[in-house]
Amino acid sequence: MNASHSPFSRREFLRVTALAGGGFALSSAFPHEGWAEVGQALDDTAKIFTPGPFIKITPEGIITILAKNPETGQGIKTSLPMIIAEELDVDFSTIVIEQAALRKDVGPQFAGGSRSTPDNYLRMRQAGATARAMLIEAAAQIWQVRSTELSTNQGKVIHEASGRSLTYGQLATKAATLPLPAENTVKLKRDDSFRLLGSRVGGVDNPLIVTGRAEFGIDQKLPGLVYAALEKCPVFGGKVVSANLARIKALPGVLDAFVLEGTANINGLLPGVAIIARSTWAAFSAKRQLQIVWDESAATGHSTEAYAGQAVALAAGNGTKIRQEGDVTAALATASKVVTGAYFYPFLNHATLEPQGCTAWAREDGIEFWTTSQTPGSGQELVASTLKIPKDKLKLNLVRAGGGFGRRLANDYLVEAAAIALRTQGAPVKLTWTREDDMRHCFYRPAGFHFLKGAIDAHGRVSAWHNHFVTFGYKNTERPASSASLSPDELPARFIPNFELEQSIISTIVPTGPMRAPGSNGLAFVMQSFIDELAHAAGRDPVAFRLELLGTDRVIPPAQGQRGNPYDVARMKAVIALAAEKSGWGQALPRGQGRGVAFHFSHAGYVALVAEVIVTPDGALTVRQVTAAVDVGPIINLSGAENQVQGSIIDGISMAWLQEITHDRGRTVQSNFNDYPLLRSTETPAVSVNFIQSKNPPTGLGEPVYPVVPPAICNAIFAATGHRIRKLPISKTDLGWS
């Protein structure tokens, strides 16, 4: 079938009036009410107790808790409801957890920056405590007793004096008639009385996942669903000149094929050719037969090799000074030892196992999405601004994502699905990227070059540190690209008296963006490896050297004008000491075997790792053991937290050992897991996870462990073999020794 006799409903739901300049316009009028009847908002009927958006208790005793943020594998759909359940005092295993759609009354809904836990901890506790206080008040009124005589236990209000009790369900209708107490009048539990928080709780979707019934982004099923694929220019930002659309439209199963002109917004709707078909395979097969003439003029001069040459040339000159303290030149001149090192880490792809995609349904009243976005609010705004559709006509359902890692902070797939949905005349459409699309169209972790010089004084201490950082700017040499900047406060700034950072910028066309622990995920490798070099140059033990460098216990605020958290030196030293202790640091190992230590602070988390590796004389690497010491304050879900640490370590080994994205003629060279590998089960080390549950506010754990892995591994390789790894991935270096 081809597009000349339309496969879609004859009724024209939405008329596409223009493609140029990013302007799609909807001609149909939208109803006034918006989405109230479509949304999954918890009911607020008279008999059901709904003290705010997060909790619903029916007279039948069904207790539902709303999970507000996107679930990408970080476990937030389990841990935020746990915080509510703790204060509400209910048996968590009996609770129904409902995933929130994007809505206006639950605060920001995003999965990024390891912020979900710290930003929502108090709000979730208050929601649970408020509901509990109202249930107690309801019982007090029914029994005509003072509320102070009452207590709760796992879903019941109890009057101990008379032996009476009522379940929350029995109290729901009465509680629903009570006014909400003022927020600051509700008493929270004492931390030491927690029963649920800090325990091991399995992911709430596990039973669905192990039976294949959990619905991910790619799994959406809708009546009359059609399937889309999209081919974008392999050269970033390249436009379509022409395409064999007539031939593609004639292929079996293909319903339509058309050029998306797109916009110049690299974070938005890029040019490409879209295919709509009766099945994913029909769309993918047709995609392979596309013959597109692209405008690839932007590509010239953009390759990994060219970038490396530019970096060396820039490092030979002067960069912009971004931090300067003391007198580095003098300290270098009087040093007992000077160490230099040129470090490099490559571009990386997030490689979520579920490729990007989105399901969208354009109807008379707007567009409904089923999205895995980590920032659905930003996605809604992107669609609104790109396609000129009012925000309140865009309904976003948040669907479990097959991994995020920061890739889904961008919303390119969302606006693509919207643009395609406007062409299906009312049929819902599922856009699925191939793995090759995903590998070649990413907001890559930016590569970075660091040219370092360090001085050791006569006492064996670090007296000077100079770093010329060569980074990337998106089509400019003035401002670093997304996630390509270096904070002047980055460690070890503030710990070394003579300290200088210079920065130079290479102009690139490669889109960059945040990936798990952005910034830190490259910087920790450089800083913690070079500190290791300095420790060895000083003839010192790398653990003792680090502890001495950090100095006395104190809290160091960020420099004037800098964002970010203060450094708590006691917490830093505590994790290093614990990792050393738990790993057997200092015990002798045979040649070819070694331990490496690294520490980093990011996303408010304090993490130290000791890695132990074995390298055979012919250079075969085995990571035998990784010992982690982590302080992110109190742990919410011990099972989920340990899983994040184990996973971050395995992810970090993939990054350190195996992964690089390279560019040639303005395009990404890698295409799939055959040339962009992930660590496999047989390469996985033993992992020991040790938490210091300090009495600080709880912070997130999706990110802070990941950056620490490469330097721990590389420092261990040095201890085992004498090979200093200054360039990632490790697989590029021959580790053989004799």
């Binding site: 990408t72 594998g73 970080q74 091991r200 399995g202 992911g203 979707d205 596990n206 039973p207 996942i209 192990v210 039976t211 294949g212 959990a214 619905e215 991910f216 790619i218 799994d219 099923k221 399937y227 079996p252 199963g253 099945s279 994913t280 395979w281 029909a282 993918f284 097969s285 979520t352 196992l353 579920e354 490729p355 479990r400 994502a401 097959g402 991994g403 995020g404 890692f405 191939t434 793995r435 099972s639 989920g640 899983n643 994040q644 184990q646 996973g647 395995i650 992810d651 993939s654 799939n672 897991f673 055959n674 992930l678 660590l679 496999r680 089960s681 047989t682 996985t684 033993a686 992992v687």
Partner: protein
């Protein structure tokens, strides 16, 4: 388009599809069995693993025309109620993070335990080496397969 009679999870389905259509997309798009996942399309990641006559297979590399009357089992058909020892062990060890690869992991593990009911940890790792987990849950996968093997030795129904 040619027609095929597929035997999936014990039921017969008449399917019309191009001969080169990978079983993966027939299962997902035509039979709504979306537990089997698309990860790479080139047989590298194992997210699409199913069993054909009890042997693990990459459904993204299996054209529908090659299946004939063989028995296809997907994650949805592994057990009627999620009570396979592997499914229990997976929940007990809280294996998943994002969960996207786990159906493929479980289908590989289920076939493996049929052929090796008393595996060592190294044998488990080797058997599972074809299934990528982007979140890095390999340690828990190994523990869960180990536990499931013990459950099955003690009479747990596979």
């Amino acid at each position: 388009m040619p027609t095929y009679n597929l035997k999936v999870n014990g039921a017969l389905h008449k399917i019309e599809a191009a001969a080169d259509t990978p079983l993966l997309w027939v299962l997902r798009d035509q039979l709504a069995l979306t537990g089997t996942k698309f990860g790479c399309g080139i047989g590298q990641c194992g997210a699409c693993t199913i069993q054909i006559n009890g042997v693990p297979a990459r459904s993204c590399q299996t054209p529908i025309s090659t299946v004939g009357a063989m028995r296809i089992t997907t994650i949805e058909g592994l057990s009627p109620d999620g009570s396979h020892p592997l499914q229990k062990a997976w929940c007990h060890h809280d294996v998943p993070q994002c969960g996207y690869c786990q159906a493929g992991q479980i289908m590989t593990a289920a076939a493996f335990l049929q052929s090796n009911p008393t595996p060592t940890e190294n044998e488990i790792d080797s058997a599972m080496a074809g299934n990528l987990c982007r979140c890095g849950t390999y340690l828990r996968i190994r523990a869960a397969v180990n536990e499931a093997a013990k459950l099955m030795q003690n009479g747990g129904r596979p």
